[in-house]
C-alpha cells in the first residue's frame, strides 16, 4: 500500500510542474503586465523602460518563469491590481471560507446520500425507492441557483434560522469560540443547499451499484454460508458498491473548491468562486493567475486523493 502511495505521489509532481508551465504561458499571453495597472499613462518611455528592467520584465521567459516559481514556493503570488496587497493575503482568507463551506457541504452530502442510496438500492422498486428516485430526478432538474434562492428565502428571511449573507457575524474577535461558531453557522445554509442538490448523483450511483452488486455470484456465496440479509448488505454488498463513490470523492472536493460560485454569490459568501468571478470582471489578472494555478493544483490533488482512497478500498488497484 505504501509503495502504491509513493508511486502515485511521484506521478503527481511532474503534473504540478507541467501545470505551472501552462499557467505561466497563459499569464504571458494575457494583455498587459504587472506594470500597466500601476503606472501613470503619461509616463515617459525611458522611465517605463527603467521600471521594466527593474521588475525583470525584459528577462528571457525562462528566467521570468524561474523567478515566478521561486516566488510561488515562498508563498509570493504577486500583487493584486485591485486590492493593492499581496495576492496570498487576498486568497488565504477566501480559501479558509471555501474549505469550510466545502467540508460542511461534503459532510451533509454523504450523511444524506449514503443512507438514501442504501435504502433505495436494497429495496429497489418499492414505494420508498420510488420516492427517493423521484427526489433525485427533481434534484437533477432543479438549477442550484434557483434552489439556493428558495432555501435562502425560506430559512434565511422567512424563518430567520440562519444568517443570510457573509461568512461571519460583524464584530467578532477572530480566535474566539464565538467567532468559529459564527463561521460555522454562516456556512450551514449554503452548505446544505449544495448538499441537497449534489447528493442526487451520489444517491443514483450508489443505488445502481447496489442493484448491480446484489445480483453478483459472490452474494449468493455469502447467502449460501448462512449470512443474514443485514450481514450480506453490510459486509458484502456495501463495500463493493461504494467503490465508484470513493473514486469520486477527490473529484467532489475539487469541484466544491472550484465550483461553488453560484451559491457563494447568492449567499454573499466570500469564497474562492466569488473571488474568481470578481477578479475576471475587474481584470485583476494576478489573482486570476494565482487562482487558476490553485484550482489546477486542487484538481491534481483531488485525483491523487481519489486514487489513494480507491487503492485503500479496492485491493485490485494497488500496484504490486
Amino acid at each position: 500500500m505504501w509503495k502504491f502511495i509513493v508511486r502515485r505521489l511521484l506521478i503527481t509532481f511532474p503534473q504540478i510542474v507541467f501545470l505551472s508551465v501552462l499557467v505561466f504561458i497563459m499569464a504571458q499571453l494575457m494583455p498587459g503586465d504587472a506594470l500597466t495597472g500601476l503606472i501613470d499613462p503619461t509616463i515617459t518611455q525611458e522611465a517605463l523602460e527603467i521600471q521594466r528592467e527593474r521588475l525583470g520584465l525584459n528577462n528571457p521567459w525562462y528566467i521570468q518563469y524561474a523567478d515566478w516559481v521561486t516566488g510561488l514556493v515562498q508563498g509570493d503570488l504577486g500583487q493584486s491590481y485591485r486590492f493593492k496587497t499581496d495576492v496570498t493575503a487576498v486568497i488565504s482568507e477566501r480559501l479558509n471560507n471555501t474549505v469550510l463551506l466545502s467540508v460542511v457541504a461534503l459532510v451533509f452530502t454523504y450523511l444524506i446520500a449514503i443512507p438514501l442510496g442504501l435504502i433505495s438500492g436494497r429495496y429497489n422498486d418499492s414505494p420508498l425507492d420510488s420516492a427517493i428516485t423521484g427526489y433525485t430526478y427533481l434534484g437533477f432538474a432543479t438549477p442550484i441557483f434557483i434552489f439556493a434562492l428558495v432555501i435562502l428565502w425560506i430559512f434565511g428571511y422567512q424563518l430567520g434560522w440562519f444568517p443570510t449573507s457573509g461568512s461571519v457575524a460583524p464584530g467578532m474577535q477572530p480566535g474566539t469560540m464565538e467567532y468559529y461558531l459564527s463561521k460555522l453557522n454562516h456556512s450551514l445554509l449554503p452548505g446544505i443547499s449544495i448538499a441537497l442538490i449534489s447528493v442526487v448523483g451520489t444517491v443514483q450511483y450508489l443505488r445502481s451499484e447496489i442493484v448491480d452488486t446484489k445480483q453478483k455470484d459472490f452474494i449468493i456465496t455469502a447467502r449460501a454460508k448462512g449470512a443474514s440479509e443485514n450481514r450480506v448488505y453490510n459486509r458484502h454488498i456495501f463495500r463493493n458498491s461504494v467503490l465508484p463513490i470513493a473514486a469520486f470523492f477527490g473529484w467532489e472536493i475539487t469541484s466544491l473548491i472550484t465550483g461553488t460560485v453560484f451559491v457563494e454569490r447568492i449567499f454573499g459568501y466570500p469564497g474562492m468562486g466569488l473571488l474568481f468571478l470578481e477578479s475576471i470582471g475587474q481584470r485583476d489578472f494576478s489573482v486570476v493567475t494565482a487562482l487558476t494555478l490553485l484550482f489546477g493544483i486542487a484538481s491534481i490533488l483531488g485525483a491523487l486523493l481519489s486514487d489513494i482512497i480507491l487503492g485503500m478500498v479496492d485491493p485490485r488497484i494497488r500496484i504490486k
Binding site: D217, T221, A224, K225, G226, S228, N240, D314, P315
Partner: protein
C-alpha cells in the same frame, strides 16, 4: 430409512415472467442417502441449477411448492432465521464459476472464516484461523498461510475453486451440492477438482449432489444418476444400470451424442431445449424432439415407472423409441 438424508417430493419451482408463473423445476421427486453421490445431468436449461438453488433456497424471486426435507426438516416452509442456521452448516454448495463466486474485496482467509464465524461461535479468532489454514491444506492449496492473506484476484481459477470448496466444507456439511464445479475450469484442473471432491466424500461422509452436463464425470463419480429434461426427471437409476441399459429416449440420445473414437460424425439431438416460457406443459416433454416416434406411444400424463428396482423412467415412449437409421432424411422430412 435412517440412511435417508434428503427427500424431495413433488418439487415445483416457478418464476414469474410477465405476471405469470412458469415452472423451471416441475414435479421432481428424489431422495439422497448419506454418503452417496447423486449425479444430475441434462442440457443447459433443463432445470439442474434451478433444482440446486431450490434446495438451498437461494432463489430470490421464485415460488417453491412441494417438499424438500433435510434430516426431516422441511426447508420450503422454514423461516429465514432457521434457514440461515442450516445453510453453510448442514448443507453447503460449491458454485459453478470460481472467478465470480468470491468477494473481490475480502481476503481469502476472511471469506472462509465467515462461514466458521456464522456457525461455530465457540471457536475463537485463533481457532478460526487455525481451522481455515487446516481447510486450505485439506483442499490442496500450497502455502496456506500466504493464501490466507491474499485476495481472490491473486489466485488462479483452479485455486479459487479450491477456496470455494473450502468454504463449502468448512462446517462438515451433511449435504453438499456441487453445481457444475468444473465447467469453468480447464481439463487438467477439472480432474484435480473431481478427485478432491471424491476424496472429501471419504473424509466428511456427506451426501453429494453433483450437477453436470458431462456424462463422463457422472460415470466416474456418481452412485446414482438422475437425468433431467425440461424441469423434470426423465430417468433415474444406479449409475451402472443407467449406462448399461439407458431407457428414456432423452438419456439414449444424450449417451449417443458423446463422441467416441473412430467416429467420423457427431450425433446430435434434434431441436433445442425449449425456453421456460415455451415448455410443453402437457404430455411427454421430449416428444417434439423425437417426432418420428408415433404420438400414440406417449403417455398423456407421463409418470415415472419403475422398470427394475431403483430404475425409473418417465413416459412409455421409451418402449417404442429407435434412432432413425438415416438421420438426415428424417430431419428433412420433418422440419
Amino acid at each position: 430409512m435412517s440412511n435417508e438424508l434428503l427427500k424431495i417430493k413433488n418439487l415445483k419451482t416457478s418464476f414469474r415472467i410477465d405476471d405469470e408463473y412458469y415452472a423451471a423445476v416441475d414435479d421432481v421427486t428424489l431422495t439422497l442417502n448419506k454418503n452417496e453421490i447423486l449425479g444430475i445431468v441434462g442440457e443447459s436449461g433443463s432445470g439442474k441449477s434451478a433444482l440446486a438453488f431450490s434446495i438451498m433456497r437461494l432463489h430470490t424471486r421464485a415460488k417453491i411448492e412441494g417438499e424438500i426435507s433435510l434430516n426431516n426438516q422441511n426447508i420450503v416452509k422454514m423461516p429465514k432465521s432457521k434457514l440461515n442456521k442450516i445453510r453453510g452448516d448442514e448443507m453447503a454448495m460449491i458454485f459453478q464459476d470460481p472467478l465470480t463466486a468470491l468477494n473481490p474485496l475480502m481476503p481469502i482467509g476472511r471469506q472462509i472464516e465467515e462461514n466458521l464465524f456464522l456457525h461455530n461461535k465457540k471457536l475463537g479468532q485463533q481457532g478460526r484461523k487455525k481451522r481455515t489454514i487446516e481447510l486450505l491444506n485439506l483442499v490442496g492449496i500450497p502455502r496456506p498461510e500466504r493464501v490466507y492473506e491474499q485476495f481472490p484476484h491473486e489466485l488462479s481459477g483452479g485455486m479459487r475453486q479450491r477456496v470455494i470448496i473450502a468454504i463449502a466444507i468448512a462446517n462438515d456439511p451433511e449435504l453438499l451440492i456441487a453445481d457444475e464445479p468444473t465447467t469453468a475450469l480447464d481439463v487438467t484442473i477439472q480432474a484435480q477438482i473431481l478427485d478432491l471432491i471424491q476424496e472429501l466424500k471419504q473424509k466428511i461422509h456427506a451426501g453429494i449432489i453433483l450437477i453436470t452436463h458431462d456424462l463422463g464425470v457422472v460415470a466416474e463419480m456418481a452412485d446414482r444418476v438422475a437425468v433431467m429434461y425440461a424441469g423434470q426427471i426423465v430417468e433415474i437409476a444406479p449409475v451402472d444400470k443407467l449406462f448399461a441399459n439407458p431407457l428414456h429416449p432423452y438419456t439414449r440420445s444424450l449417451l449417443n451424442s458423446v463422441p467416441t473414437e473412430g467416429q467420423d460424425r457427431l450425433h446430435v439431438i434434434q431441436g433445442v431445449v425449449p425456453t421456460l416460457k415455451n415448455l410443453p406443459r402437457t404430455g411427454c416433454r421430449f416428444a417434439e424432439r423425437i417426432p418420428w416416434v408415433d404420438a400414440s406411444h406417449h403417455e398423456e400424463n407421463p409418470d415415472l415407472h419403475e422398470v427394475e428396482p431403483g430404475h425409473f423412467v418417465r413416459c412409455t415412449c421409451y418402449k417404442h423409441f429407435y434412432f432413425p437409421d438415416n438421420k438426415e432424411e428424417q430431419e428433412n422430412g420433418v422440419s
